[in-house]
Amino acid sequence: MNLNLKAKKNNSYDAIVVGTGISGGWAAKELTENGLNTLVLERGRNVRHIEDYPTMLKKPWELPYNDRVTQEEAQHYQKQMRTGYTIRQSTKHWWIRDTDQPYEEIKRFDWIRGYHVGGRSIMWGRQSYRLAPMDFEANAKEGIAVDWPIRYEDIAPWYSHVEKFAGISGQALGLPQLPDSEFLPPWELNCVEEHLKESLDANFGRVLTIGRTANMTRSHQGRGSCMSRNLCMRGCPYGAYFSSNASTLPAAEATGNMTLRPNSIVDSIIYDEDLGKATGVRVIDAETLETFEFYSNVIFLNASCMNTTLIMLNSISDRFPNGLGNDSGELGHNVMDHHFRVGANGEFDGYEDRYYWGRRPTGFYIPRFRNLDRNDRSYLRGFGYQGGASRQDWRHAVRELAIGEPLKELVQTPGKWTLGMTAFGEMLPDHSNRVYLDHNKKDKWGQPTLVFDVEFKENEFKMREDMKNDAAEMLEAAGFKNITTFDDPGGPGLGIHEMGTARMGRDPRTSVLNKWNQVHACKNVFVTDGAAMTSAACQNPSLTYMAFAARSAHYAAEEMKKGNL
């Protein structure tokens, strides 16, 4: 008995954060900076900033197979490779092996994951956009799913809060559908992008702006400015883009209040029927398979959308027979991603005496222009474009009549300017899009596996017509030649923006979380990753997860001080 009490005392913290990615890092930073003794659990291995980025300085000639993986290696990454860009010699160590981490697909779902300290904050696309007032109002206005329990004004100060620390570069525009962030100076557009921007303004009254990205154009918060190498996904020796490893976790560490425990798979949340709240988590050591219990006053779930959902579904008690906080039956439902890979490419004649210096870590962005003031299309919501222009490299000479010395001369002059853009469209929440547990099929740690039953629906497919045609029309109006369109949605998940499976809402009967991201019926459990999203908007979501995580962690710390948690 005494031993048990001692063990419990040694394993007790003010707060536990599950996950170290974009949102977990923020929860850890805010909780520790508010004086809470915090245990941060990560299911994968430790990754120390700079020290554990093995390929960050590799030159092209130092990577075997031109950075591609062998057939033998590829067998382990069959689903992770569906993106076409994730599994390289220089980056393969950041992604899970599908042979170790199985899941079931009733319909194709591309679940792309990285399990290590920092999670996907190391490999993310860094595009950072605020959601707009209209995004928080759309569900209520249109009678879709449930209303967000907050409005833009509630989250706006927290956007500012995280942006000032993260370092977001961009151009302020004052657009209602894409509120400005606290910006570092923007990256430059190149000549052809500038040309398209002028044409869009003149011909359509539409806006093109430089991508808003968490790549810093000057030193900021003790981290170095970007050197335009564009090798971000390998980890940055300058800390010049936002990641948990470079930014939030060092800040949490510096408080002296963080205990980071890698290789710790959270099996479930411990719910105390008498106290009517959660008291801790059950953990499996990924290396030794030993099991532990850790205890705390509050628990933050930031395991990423699907794994947070898995943990909640796997947390069964008399009070919650269908998963922690699942009174509504909505846990695991309303899966969303963004749908993309639809747009157009074109060639541009001219600017042949112009070129660029450096490798810019972002492209351009065309903010949403459909269904803004009124809904005048055959679908709801809208989309934005991401794209870029560049001059053709040596590959333009493959199909030229040149061999030998003439070929070597020909490649020294770059080819034509080409420009491509893909739209990112909003996916509506739909109850029938869901994940659930398969208790019969366990992974190698004995955990139940997830089953995905998710598909794009009519609204998405109708929207894709505009996404394709608008792109071609804009290129045509700007004088591009040889315009081609493309439309290949792939599976949901390919945007790597999974969200919605533990949505926020006003009513406990129809949602899982309240306006502070607390589980309605278990208030000391917070979910501040993608699972919390009530709708998807069309903007890249990570910045919003940061803002929610910081806001909720601050609230939790305040409530604990008041004795309410």
């Binding site: 430059e188 000549c191 500038e194 490299d393 040596w394 590959r395 490649v411």
Partner: protein
């Protein structure tokens, strides 16, 4: 890799030496396939005031890609393409490609290049263009190809979106 400027490597191949750098020991290719790959890649990118494909290990790179990265279907098709290329060469010139002199190699390769470009739309993927692109991939990822023929900056430092081409001078080896 290699010395300063290598003479065409054909001689070494004819003597039965391991081609190019002397370190490549073909594992997938037969001796005659290795000789053809060496000769053809070095015809496509010969030594000039910069090194050629064979001098910087492109033949070995090609084999490693075909052996380890290609799917079985791609591999079979590539090896088949090599055989048919040499067969055609023997039919038309009376000699294996690797045994032709440099002028004849360039002439034959130029013809094959032109035919492949002309026929691709109708016939689909052409072996010659697959080989040409793989040679170029292999060459422009080397330090010689990336930094001396093209331009490479390991740490550009800044980004400028619209500058005179002369300020860069040559095509970037890596666009993104």
């Amino acid at each position: 890799m290699g010395g300063v400027v290598f003479a065409p490597t054909m001689l070494g191949v004819l003597k039965g030496c391991s081609p190019s750098t002397g370190r490549w020991r073909p594992e997938l290719f037969t001796a005659s396939q290795a000789a053809l790959v060496t000769a053809l890649s070095d015809t496509i990118i010969p030594a000039t005031d910069t090194k050629g494909a064979a001098d910087v290990g492109v033949p070995g790179f090609i084999e490693s890609m075909v052996k380890d990265v290609y799917s079985e279907e791609q591999r079979t098709s590539f090896l088949d393409g090599l055989e048919r290329f040499d067969e055609k060469c023997r039919e038309q010139t009376g000699s294996a490609f690797a045994s032709l002199d440099a002028g004849a190699q360039t002439e034959f390769a130029n013809t094959e290049n032109r035919l492949a470009i002309e026929n691709e739309a109708e016939e689909g993927p052409q072996f010659f263009l697959v080989f040409k692109e793989l040679t170029m991939v292999g060459y422009f990822r080397t330090e010689e190809g990336a930094t001396r023929v093209l331009r490479y900056e390991d740490i550009p430092g800044i980004y400028q979106g619209c500058i005179p081409f002369e300020d860069v001078g040559r095509t970037w080896s890596h666009n993104h």
